[in-house]
């Protein structure tokens, strides 16, 4: 098999066009489509404003400011809805971008959306106050008392500011995931309470107009997606699968593999490398949900995750009794063979990031000799699942490299200090790197360093796949 395919690959290499997996083309078409829809949705709200005669309303400074305020509100709201859709676990978004990228995009939209909405409030207040004429503060009062649904709109704005500010604080101070999550839910309330004033103030979305139906349809669509994919689908899947804990195997100190069994698991269409958000129904753990990746290829009746618990959860997870019921959301993520574009594969893991790498290695498509597995740790001892990995590598014909050693403080590299001095990079570690897809899973900062290394080795974005974790 390797003899037969070798010449064709060479021919392709000569034209310097790597063989691209058909999945990739399909995925990119979907991604392109979604991106186009997103951009056009912004254009559409601007068009709605223009079609209402908006272009003619820039004649005076007051008009211009007011019109600008209307536009920022429209675009800002569109971005907010987009953010909510990105967080709604839409299967098509997950398939096109992966959960990680979708959430990164979700995060990066947060500030622009907030600034636009803030601009909306400020510009309209100024614009109105110029027409009135009244002082800006008086105008706020006038708006609150005379305009329909305005108190609610101000509440929404306040909530939105609170959500974004706490998100920044939470990320910086590493608050509990649960606390952050709770505050985040307020953003849905913020969006909800701002709807009435959009419909009652001004005439853009007047009753009976096409744009009113479009606008309402956007909200209904987003709300429907959230309810369907974040609540109904997970509940239905959890009930159907009847997952229970079958056994807990200690892997290392604080690290366990949890074997789960259930039924009709094929219908989940889970893939190696994907993760679920799990909830274990014990008195201590039921209230928190954790994202954990599959550490073994899923079968029709069994799943396995490998988990490093932190703090309280650590003890609770290693002591999970047999038969504990498990509910879940997922599977999510594009850290799978589905995202492949090249014949070769390189799997790079650090810490508990080994879990999805382990399952990927099990089922990824590659010919013997075309895969490299790199495990990175501070000492040779704190690597997990090494025995399993070594076994799989032997069976499948992959090369396993374990790179131990402390990173030099201050040096921006994912490799140990001595490796940096020896000018070792991903390119020197892996033969024919340019023909490989690189999968990286590890702590956030470390992952970013590997990604940088892969990029500087000339790898295009489509050949780099990564999943990062914070806690």
């Amino acid at each position: 098999m390797s003899l037969a395919t070798h010449p064709t690959k060479r021919a392709q290499r000569r034209t310097s066009v790597p063989r691209i997996h058909p999945n990739y083309r399909r995925r990119m078409r979907l991604a392109d489509g979604l991106q186009i829809i997103a951009v056009v949705s912004v254009a559409l709200v601007i068009a709605i404003f223009l079609a209402d005669g908006g272009a003619a309303r820039f004649g005076t400074p007051a008009d211009a400011i007011t019109s600008l305020g209307v536009v920022t509100g429209l675009v800002g709201t569109d971005l907010l809805l987009m953010m909510m859709l990105l967080a709604a676990r839409l299967p098509s978004i997950d398939r096109a971008f992966g959960h990680d990228s979708a959430m990164a995009l979700h995060q990066s939209l947060g500030k622009p959306a907030l600034y636009l909405i803030l601009g909306h409030g400020v510009l309209l207040t100024i614009g109105y106050s110029m027409v009135q004429p009244a002082s800006v503060f008086a105008e706020v009062w006038i708006m609150l008392t005379t305009l329909p649904d305005m108190p609610l709109a101000f509440v929404g704005l306040g909530l939105l500011i609170a959500v974004v500010v706490t998100s920044l604080v939470v990320v910086r101070r590493r608050f509990r995931y649960e606390a952050w999550h709770l505050v985040h839910l307020l953003s849905y309330l913020a969006v909800l309470v701002s709807i009435p004033h959009q419909l009652s103030v001004g005439s853009l979305f007047r009753e009976g107009s096409v744009q009113r139906y479009y606008w309402l349809a956007l909200y209904v669509g987003v709300a429907g997606s959230i309810v369907l994919f974040r609540f109904i689908v997970p509940i239905v899947r959890s009930l159907r699968s009847q997952l229970v804990v079958k056994g807990v195997d200690p892997v290392a100190r604080g690290v366990v593999s949890i074997r789960l069994s259930g039924r009709e698991l094929r219908r989940l269409k889970a893939r190696s490398g994907q993760f679920f958000i799990w909830r274990f129904w014990t008195p201590k753990l039921w209230w928190q949900a954790h994202p954990f990746s599959l550490s073994a290829a899923p079968t029709g009746n069994a799943l396995r995750i490998t988990v490093r618990g932190l703090g309280d959860a650590s003890a609770a997870l290693s002591a999970l009794p047999k038969g504990t019921r498990v509910s879940f959301e997922g599977p999510y993520g594009l850290f799978t063979d589905f995202a492949r574009t090249s014949p070769r594969i390189v799997l790079v893991a650090a810490g508990i990031g080994v879990a999805p790498i382990r399952s990927l290695l099990e089922t990824a498509t590659f010919a013997p000799g075309q895969a490299t597995v790199i495990l990175r740790s501070s000492t040779a001892d704190d690597t997990y699942l090494v025995d399993e990995l070594a076994h799989l590598c032997r069976v499948r014909g992959a090369e396993l490299r374990i790179i131990a050693g402390k990173r030099s403080p201050g040096a921006n590299s994912w490799l140990p200090a001595d490796a940096v001095r020896a000018r070792i990079t991903l390119g020197t570690l892996v033969p024919k790197l340019r023909e490989a897809d690189v999968y990286i899973c590890g702590p956030r900062r470390w992952t970013d360093e590997v990604v940088r290394d892969a990029r500087s080795a000339g790898l295009p974005t489509r050949q780099i796949h990564f999943e990062r974790f914070d806690w």
């Binding site: 009135q132 009244a134 008086a138």
Partner: protein, 277 residues
């Protein structure tokens, strides 16, 4: 209200402290009696005496002709003959029928609060007649080439142009607590050039409540509108229809309203409030 006083003479001095720039005798008020009240005509600048006389003549004849047709105080008026059954509405003059149609139209637009039918069954068109007469008289003044004038018929005021170059006509609203005082002084600026005031304590000749006798919550209602008929009809309607009629009127028509409640407190639309700054 520093410019108000109980004595009429004092008022006149107060409201006109220095005299307007064109304050020569030629532009004083022309008054004449008609329709059971007194009409005041003023001009916004010097007007030749002959033209003033013509204006008085024209206005007087307009009012006289409306009075002849519609007065219920005259037995020989067309409307009195209809009410006595001597004349059918279908045989009435086109003017009377138009006027009746206008009144019915207003009845529909005010949800029946304003009505030309008195509780005792008598057809009373005075609710629109005076306003229509003022309107027509205004047209007559325009016809004479007059641009700046004001016309006050028993407290219903219609103005055109300016009282002096660049100065709007200003209407005072009577304080029902003290009829020698004014509550407000409002420029009749574009586009609201007409004001009418109705009171429940006054003669009440054309005010009929829709349901029962229903004492109105308002002692006096002034309405500023673009035309005198709207102002007059809505003032009547609000007094008769109470809060609901007030809310509906301000919602439906571009008007400003000042209402005096039974306890002498006031309600006003935004345009009648003193500037916020």
């Amino acid at each position: 209200m520093p410019r108000s006083s109980n004595r009429p003479g004092g008022v006149a001095q107060n409201v006109n402290p220095a005299g307007p720039p064109n304050g020569d005798g030629g532009s004083g008020a022309i008054t004449l009696r008609s329709m059971g009240t007194v009409l005041s005509i003023r001009f916004g600048g010097p007007v030749a005496p002959e033209l003033g006389a013509q204006a008085r003549e024209a206005v007087g004849s307009v009012f006289a002709s409306w009075d002849t047709r519609f007065s219920l105080y005259r037995d020989d008026s067309e409307l009195s003959r209809i009410n006595r059954g001597e004349l059918r509405l279908t045989q009435a003059s086109p003017i009377l029928r138009d006027c009746y149609a206008a009144a019915l139209d207003w009845r529909d637009r005010t949800d029946g609060v304003f009505t030309p039918h008195r509780a005792d069954g008598v057809l009373d068109l005075s609710g629109v007649v005076k306003a229509l007469a003022i309107d027509e008289a205004g047209g007559a003044l325009r016809g004479l080439g007059l641009v700046n004038w004001s016309l006050n018929a028993g407290g219903d005021i219609l103005v055109a142009g300016d009282q002096a170059p660049g100065l709007d006509w200003v209407a005072g609203l009577v304080d029902p607590d003290d009829r020698g005082r004014t509550l407000a002084a409002v420029p009749l600026a574009l586009p609201l050039r007409a004001v009418a005031t109705s009171g429940s304590a006054e003669r009440g000749d054309h005010i009929w409540t829709a349901v029962g006798d229903g004492a109105s919550p308002y002692r006096q209602v002034s309405v500023f509108a673009r035309d005198i008929v709207t102002a007059d009809v809505l003032a009547t309607t609000i007094v008769a229809g109470g809060e609901a009629a007030l809310a509906r009127s301000t919602e439906t028509w571009p008007i400003e309203v000042l209402a005096v409640l039974r306890d002498s407190s006031l309600l006003a639309t935004a345009g009648l409030r003193a500037d916020r700054d």
